[in-house]
């Protein structure tokens, strides 16, 4: 009980000053405790100077310490520092008792001096351990608080990000919906255009057919008019024979008239069939599948394609070979659709040989264009083959020829849909459309149609 009491006061004051500097308590307390620090420094000096006989300084120090503890205890702002009170109080009580006895019963006190010293040391140790304990506690607390703060910060950040994200999502959603509406509109337009293109492709192939059809109708009509005309003459002649009583002659003429009437009927039906075929070709709705004689269909469209091209290019000619398997069983197809495919392939073949003839003639060589159409049955499949001896298809484009809008013709001359539509039609019949070509040696298109379409 000499230097420890003022040191304790110094420690407390210094501690509080530091808290004030660190803003853990209000900064206004800094000066307050700084002053008290100097007071305790003075008390320490006094204790050092007056030594063991400085009981006045000791009482003053004790009073000062009690005052400091009281100050800490009664100020609500120092609640977190309350541990100082609990740490110092035992020491202060012990110090008071020690000082009291050493001052007023010094004889008796000196006898029990060691015990008092021990108790006082214990109180000091208590204070020291309280300080250690509170420091640990504070550190964990600080750590926890820091963690809490970090958590709060993280939460705040995540909230902020969430808000930002929500704004972004709303924006994106709006964007996407607008984009979706635009795309739907574009899709609808594309579908309409596609339908229009398919129709115009049909009309284009009808255009190719028109000249052929005109020629095909012209021939039977010529026969109809000529046979009618000649029959009228024959009737006059027959009447003449009857008048001159030659019934045998009349009978012969009558037989001729009858055969002429058969011819008129035949050619009338022929023209009728052509007109019907043309109507079927241009019809928009898809027709019904029905058992069809493919040989007849191929022959019919071969003639139409040929005459169609002839009408456009009078100099054109080509050898047409047909190799139709006899007694080919009818296959169930939509005749105008398969007809369109055959027409398209034959027209392409004609174009190919025409091109080759042109280039060969420019180079002073002769070239005999040839197209052949063949049919055959193999197991459960019917094959229609359209071959030409043109320049063939370059390997670079052979993979593209069935793609929509692919065309080698100049802009405006082909829709690029012919082969694509043909491919789709054959696929829809459960078959397939293949191409073989050796460059320079022509191309061969093979349509496969299954007899058993159920599978």
């Amino acid at each position: 009980m000499h230097l420890d009491a003022p040191l304790l006061a110094m420690f407390v004051c210094r501690y509080m000053v530091r808290l004030a500097k660190n803003k853990q308590i209000d900064a206004s307390w800094e000066n307050f405790f700084q002053v008290r620090f100097y007071v305790s420094l003075g008390l320490l000096a006094a204790a050092a100077v007056f030594g063991n006989f400085s009981w006045i300084a000791s009482w003053a120090t004790l009073a000062f310490n009690a005052y400091l503890v009281w100050q800490l205890y009664q100020t609500p702002a120092f609640k977190p520092q309350r541990w100082l009170v609990w740490a110092a109080t035992p020491y202060l009580v012990v110090s008071f008792i020690v000082l009291f006895f050493s001052t007023f019963f010094s004889k008796w006190y000196n006898q029990w001096d060691d015990y008092f010293g021990t108790v006082q040391l214990c109180a000091l140790a208590w204070a020291f351990f309280m300080w250690l304990y509170s420091r640990n506690q504070r550190k964990t607390q600080e750590l926890e608080q820091k963690k809490l703060l970090e958590k709060e910060e993280a939460f705040r950040m995540s909230e902020k990000m969430k808000e930002e994200l929500e704004v972004q999502v709303a924006q994106r959603t709006e964007d996407l919906e607008r984009r979706k509406a635009e795309l739907e509109h574009a899709l609808a337009e594309l579908k309409a255009t596609q339908a229009q293109l398919i129709q115009s492709e049909k009309m284009a192939s009808l255009g190719e057919l028109t000249a052929g059809i005109a020629h095909e109708i012209q021939n039977p009509l010529n026969f109809v008019t000529n046979f009618s005309d000649v029959s009228a003459e024959l009737v006059d002649e027959m009447i003449g024979e009857l008048d001159s009583h030659h019934p045998e002659e009349a009978r012969l003429i009558a037989a001729d008239i009858k055969s002429n009437l058969d011819k008129i009927l035949h050619h009338g039906k022929r023209a009728d069939g052509i007109v019907k075929g043309m109507l079927q070709h241009s019809r928009n709705s898809s027709g019904q599948a029905e058992p069809t004689d493919i040989n007849q269909l191929a022959d019919e469209y071969l003639r139409l394609a040929y005459h169609g091209l002839r009408a456009k290019d009078k100099t054109f000619n080509a050898t047409m070979q047909t190799s139709f398997e006899a007694d080919l069983p009818p296959v169930k197809v939509v005749p105008q659709d398969i007809g369109r495919v055959v027409l398209n392939l034959i027209t392409n073949a004609f174009h190919a040989v025409t091109e080759k003839k042109k280039t060969e003639q420019e180079n002073g060589r002769t070239f005999d264009p040839a197209i052949s159409v063949a049919t055959r049955k193999e197991q459960d499949n019917l094959f229609i083959t359209v071959s030409d001896n043109g320049d063939g298809i370059p390997p670079a484009v052979i993979d593209k020829i069935f793609q929509p809008f692919f065309t080698t013709k100049p802009t405006g001359q082909g829709t690029g849909l012919g082969l694509s539509l043909s491919y789709d039609i054959v696929k829809a019949h459960g078959g397939d459309l293949k191409v073989e070509s050796t460059p320079g040696n022509g191309a061969r298109f093979i349509i496969r149609l299954p007899y058993n379409t159920a599978k």
């Binding site: 020629h215 012209q218 021939n219 009509l221 010529n222 026969f223 008019t225 000529n226 046979f227 005309d229 000649v230 024959l234 001729d256 055969s259 002429n260 011819k263 050619h267 040929y306 005459h307 002839r310 009408a311 009078k314 100099t315 000619n317 050898t319 047409m320």
Partner: protein
Amino acid sequence: MKILVVDDEHDIQLLFEQRFRKEIRSGIMSFAFAFSGEDALRYLDAHPQEAVLILSDINMPGMSGLELLGEIKEHHYLPPPIVLMITAYGDEENYNKAMGLGADDFLTKPLDFGLLKEKLKTIGHV
């Protein structure tokens, strides 16, 4: 007078035989029929010395009428046959081509048999 008719329509035979039945019966004209250019050349090669008048369609599959005309004029058949070309496409280009190849006349379908008869009679009398 021997007349060779070349056309890919087979019924043309019956029509000609009826239209010219009087001429055939009286022996003024006799007809032969070929249904392709190749057929016609084969007939001409088989009957080289027949005085022949040829009536040929232009528009036929395989050898066209114009090609046939060229072949005939190149082959120098003796006596040179008279060739009349017929076409459904009565256009300038075909006409010029036929005349350039040495055709003797050019007729368009549908055939006016009255006119044809007149022409044949004039040629026959010459």
